[in-house]
């Protein structure tokens, strides 16, 4: 019996999304094969990217291991973001936590100005995330889009309840959008379909939610793996978007990550490695050591 190397080739490809303007443009997606499969036919023009997260207010409940690397800049998002770049982040993810109605309920305008300052201060592309409150985000994210017009940000999360105003503003000001759905491939496709009717599909990044290791990671893993497979192998246009694995907060919220620094770094690192192998094109991390570790391991 002769051995024939089981090289595979696929008919579909993931859309390529550009984030950032001018010299700092970074592209994600664009591949027409599965993750980490350089041995198959086709190409992977853009390697997966790693971002570090920055909050627009000093976090109160982060374990010390994650605040220590940023201890001097935690109340200055601009300096914090610059430090992330120094640590080797391909992108920065600014989280407008202060706008959350259940905490500071900061006004949209102020948050938008912070986003603008951060975007202009760093030499890598910026991702801007709202607080996750769907009503407030519908107010905050369009302001961010407007204030940062021309910066080609990646803005989100847009969910089925609030995507319309966010999409409209991102469309007008040239940004890309994160379409978020709750751990379900069908709900994800449904949102992609609705969103792509009012927004260019090649500026959508999908976020099927990233559960942490031990807390449902296998669901995120399998949804990402299936998403990539249906897009690449079965040419389903509504799953052919790059995937973002926003796993920082979920990983560091676990008691296992909080209780021991090395274990925390591995908790975040293994979650990232797993989801990147499943097909995520972009991962958002918190600890600079896990960023470095994941980057060294998978590149």
């Amino acid at each position: 019996m002769d051995f024939k190397a089981p090289v595979e080739s696929f008919a579909g490809s993931v859309r390529e999304v550009s984030i950032g303007s001018g010299a700092k443009t970074v592209k994600i997606g664009g591949e027409n094969r599965l993750a980490y499969s350089p041995f198959d036919e086709g190409s992977t023009p853009n390697p997966p990217r790693l971002a570090l997260e920055v909050w627009d207010m000093a976090p109160e409940d982060w374990p010390e291991s994650t605040t220590a690397p940023f201890a001097d800049v935690l109340s200055d998002p601009v300096k914090w973001a610059q430090k992330c770049v120094d640590y080797g982040a391909d992108m920065v993810c600014l989280r407008l936590v202060s706008t959350d109605p259940s905490t500071k309920n900061a006004p949209a305008e102020a948050a938008a100005q912070t986003a603008k300052q951060v975007a202009q201060a760093i030499k890598v592309p910026l991702i801007v995330c709202g607080s996750g409150d769907e009503k407030k985000d519908a107010e905050v994210l369009p302001k961010v889009a407007e204030a940062c017009s021309g910066e080609s940000l990646l803005i989100g999360p847009a969910v089925k309840e609030n995507f319309e105003p966010i999409a409209k503003a991102c469309q007008e000001h040239g940004h890309s959008i994160i379409a978020q759905s709750p751990l379900d491939i069908n709900l994800m496709k449904e949102l992609s379909i609705k969103l792509s009717k009012v927004f260019p599909a090649d500026r959508i990044v999908i976020d099927p939610l990233s559960s942490a290791l031990g807390y449902g990671m296998e669901y995120s893993f399998t949804i990402m793996e299936r998403t990539k497979q249906t897009g690449v192998a079965f040419k389903d246009a509504m799953t052919q978007m790059p995937i973002i694995a926003d796993l920082a907060a979920e990983s560091w919220k676990t008691k296992e990550a909080k209780s021991d620094e090395k274990q925390g770094i591995l908790w975040e690192g293994i979650t990232a490695v797993s989801l990147l192998l499943a097909g995520a094109n972009l991962a958002v991390l918190r600890h600079p050591d896990s960023l470095k570790l994941v980057s060294d391991t998978l590149r």
């Binding site: 595979e8 490695v273 192998l277």
Partner: protein, 455 residues
Amino acid sequence: MAVKGTDIVKKLPDLGKKNCKECGFPTCFAFAMKLASGGATLDKCPHLSPEVTEELEDALSPAIKLVTVGTGDNALQVGNEEVVFRHDKTYVHPTGIGLLISDTEDSAKVDEKIKKISDLQFDVVGINLKADLLALKCDSGKKDTFLALVDKVCKSTGVPFMLICEDADILLAARDICADRRPLLYPVTKNNIDKIIPAIKEKPGPLGVKADSLEELIPLTTRLKEEKIDEVVIDPGSKDLMEAINDQTFIRRAAIKQGFRPLGYPTIAFPGTLAKGELKEILVASALVIKFAAVLILTDFDEFGLRPLLMQRLNIYTDPRMPLSVEEKLYAVGEPGETSPVLITTNWALTYFIVSAEIESSKVSSWLLVKEAEGLGVLTAWAAGKFNGDSIAPFLKRSGVEDKTKTRKLVIPGKVARIKGELEDALPGWEIIVGPREATEITGFLPGYAAKLKN
């Protein structure tokens, strides 16, 4: 590549048209379909020639051979996998995680490692997570030194083990003092295979075959198969993680999709040779848990590395068709007392993890009732009739919560607010409080609620 019933039937008597019913099935075709799905065995048909029996046995055997290392309750089984992607069905035998002990390590280190393999165990929802085997390696090149280590490990632990030695004479001598424990012998290479074969025929046991590439493995496994030796794990000798992902993926695809027998064996890898550093080694191992490795040998590990690795293995090998569930009972989160809040949720492991983690982070000790609901989430369980007034009330009475607390207020998930009425009817004396819709809101809800309870 699973063999199809329609292919099997052609091999049965009279091209599958005999239909004598002696196998207990109405037709040859029905028997063939059962054979293909694993619901019948070949010996039920009395009319098969030995040649056809052998051919069908081979066709019906799993695409990836099942291999057992060790004996008894501790034995490690790997292989028998049927799919490339876990969502195609499920993975079956979790990656065996091993700890390396070199015969050049001092005795304190050896003792520490022997202790680690049995001490580092973690309980997760009633599942015990632990490493599976020890890998004893001859680095000294001295037979006596290596045999002394093997002897010591044999006497001090029942954990399965693997013997690693480049010198086949020393390897076989070590095997001879512990053959009854079925150690995995490694490496079998093109240089020593002639010496190994007769020794294995004499005392059968699992072998680890190593070559410098996937192609070079093929003549070795083929040769062993001709000698009727097929309890084998294979090592394609990958140089770095990316090469390992390539090799492991090709082996899995060749076995499953091409039905290529010479690579239809579980694999072994050594993350420590692919990356240096304690954290990086664990991360590389985690990548290989996903990328099909059946056995991984680590140079060392501690609690902070082993726990996340075993947790990841549990996640990846959980059957995606069967939600993981926890036992139905009353759980104490923190140190609840007689005025602490009482909450209820369903027994999907994920629901339980998240709800109990949120209660913990709210720092309010509480009683958490976890109701059996076939491992479904709250809303699905309600829709399936597993989480309603009639079924919750008897469980609450049974749980003993009424003896533990004076509280007669039960917090239900906000998503099933509609059961408040029926639950109050079914539980006289209890007031039903509609809690948060999402678990993440528990930290905001509990402190204020608990303060009110106390007043």
